[in-house]
Amino acid sequence: MKSYAMPFPEAEKSSPGRLFRRLTAVLILISIPAVFSGCAEVKEINDMAILSGMSVDVDASGRWEITAEVVNKTADASPEETRRVIRSNGSTLGDALENLNFQDSRQIYFSHAKTLVLSRYLAETQGVGPVADYVMRNYKTRLSMDLLVSDLPDASAVADLSSSSSGLIYYDLEELVKTDRQYGACSPTKVYQAVNLLKESGADLTIPLISQRDDRACLAGTAVFSGDRMTGSLDQDETLYLQLLQDHLENAHLVLPEENMTFQVMDADASFRPVVSGGKPALNVDLKLSCTLSQAGRTVTREDTETLSEKLSQLVRSRCSALITKAQLWDADIFGFGKSMGGLTYDFSALPVTVNCEINLKLGEVHR
């Protein structure tokens, strides 16, 4: 057996080869800090100005304005003191963002920015494209930021709204979008999703619309885009049916006002079937909903099941049809019909669409 123990008295023999190896090892160790850029990338947290989000505006002369919120937390700070709003402008978007660095003594840190708000004017004139392109190219910003369109006069007005919880309005907006999505009130879009939709064909972009109620932010519907330009907006009720058609609906509720009843949607499924009718392409939209009666304004019996199902189905069909018609007027395929049409050549704005709706209704506790 070969022994690997170094005999005690012979351990200190030196040779030119050993000395050369040791020198080489030391040189390599010394050169590592010089060759690698690691040391230069060190950033202490307290030397960074953490950006929670920003708003992008463009004026009529084409000058870009950025309004951003920087975290300014200290242990004994009040909610108003935990943030600082900084503004910059520039002749291009990149110029305005680089100028932002001069507005704070610390290095601006973009990686934890959660929300990017565009003004309506920007969305309608310049479109989402330039903004999404910059975010894509810039390694500092995250592609997972939520995109929002501001229904206020300027996107910069968002930064002046009050925060409801964390003291940081842009983080509040992220929470707002996340929460309201569960109830079908918005269809969130992140930057990378917007980029994917702009690159692909067969579907158009939608971005949640925010507005102001009292002095706090609230969701006001959905901005509709054709290509990368905004062409119209949907209110909150239409947004719910948009979610249904996009097959994203989770915990929404439907209302039959004439019956004074509220129904909870437990499960929803939407599928599209392209058909050829009279030599022309058409589309059938098949909706399947499972609903339960969550609030009854009158006494209900089991015999009411069919009637209520029919009324609910009629409601859903009419609202969806109206929404589809509106989208066709804007030529914005926000439902993704194009992905289901296969190789058929069609004109979205003139596509005949039939909406079918099947309701599986459970009334729950009924009176005999």
């Binding site: 005690f8 060190v42 934890h112 983080y171």
Partner: protein
Amino acid sequence: MEPQKIKRRRLTAGLDENIALLKEIFGQDTTIKIRVFENQKNPRVRCCIVFVDGMINNVLINEHIIEPIMLNKFLHKTDHLLTDLREKVLFTNDIFPLREIDAMMSELLSGNTLLLADGFSEVLVLSTRGWSIRSISEPAAEKVLQGPREGFTEALIINLSLLRRKICSPDLQYEFMTVGRQSGTKIALAYIKGIANERIVKEMKRRLKRVDIDSILDTNYIEEIIKDAPNSPFKTTGSTERPDIVAAKLFEGRVAVLVDGTPVVLTAPFFFIEYFQSNDDYYSNFYVGTFGRWLRILGFCMTLSLPAVYLALVTFHQDLLPTRFLLNLSEARLGLPFPTLFEMILLILVFELIREGGSKVPANFGQTLSIVGGLVLGQAAVEAKLVSIPVVIIIAFTGVTGLMIPQLKSPIIFMRLAWLILASVLGFPGFMLGVIALLIHLSSLKTFGIPYTSSLSKTFAEECQDTFIRSPWRRMLVRPSYISPYNHTRQVPQEKSQGNVKEKAEAKER
């Protein structure tokens, strides 16, 4: 007198000359007692005993050596006086003759008594050891909740007997050697014949014979000299103070080295996984044992990685942190003057100082020290804005998990600092470089010719049953083949006691 001169001297037949020689050798050492006496009936029978005061059993000497010689009525000064004394007069259980001076000195200084007789140039060595030894108690650093509570002591003979009680088999072999030119320390190599790997036994003997040092006061002297990779912080020989652990390792085919004067016993070979094995695992339920092992492995990983990972995240990869956590960290670091790396190194140093101080402090002050160290220093440092609270928590957690495996103390201290510096330079890639370097080092190590990570690289279920998990005893049928290639079988497979068809049939017939 110089050792070389002692070796050249010889005893003569004259008792007085021999006594003069002994006095010359030991100089003014008053602990060496020389007692001359003669037989009452026949004064020509003159004898002298030489012993070290405090190392012998006085009653044995007085009643079993001096008294029989002095009072014996049949002693005569003949050519076979020493033989008569040895076989018919003296009441000791071990007597043998010696001529060489250096061997006599060794026996004398180990607690035996020399009997010189007038007219003879050889001595009789009488076994009369009787010094005070520490009682057998559980080792402080290896306590168990359940199981034996014996521990080795400083006396080699006691340790050998403790081991013999655990292994009541004639196959348990002891081979004795003396190491240490000045100390003359006795060591014993123990192994079980038929189970131990003969190559390992041979290799161990070879390495022990090559130990050439002036004194051996602890097994660590031997361990550092015979280890496979002297510059590696990892051990390639195990050490323990518990006889049950040594016995268990001998049963697996390892060898053990017991050293006189220290309760620590070396075992070889030693594998990396053994750091995480505890005798507690074997004395309790296998679920508990396995969980305990996982905790130790997790603790090891955390104590090494936590500071480096935290530093990498906080200084290079802030993107990976959850936003709320980042905001809290940012708030915690407000107003701090030092970079995070400096904070961590400072706190690690403080922790190590407190730990080192705590290990030496008397028990009365231990609690005070922990209060001062933990609460006052930590709290005060945070309030003085010298360090941040998250770093205090990280280092405290790192320190506590580092104490889970005391044997890994030196590699942990070294590697933790190395990984911290790598992470401070290169972030996560630097940390990964450190991990890769460690894995390469561990994979390249060998212990007595067997790869250090042998037990971790096996794919047969039989070989892996005592690595990351502690299998039930009924499943551990074989010994690891890489240690004991000859006698592989540990136990015969047991039939299950429940649901056994044959037993049920027999019960039904009855």
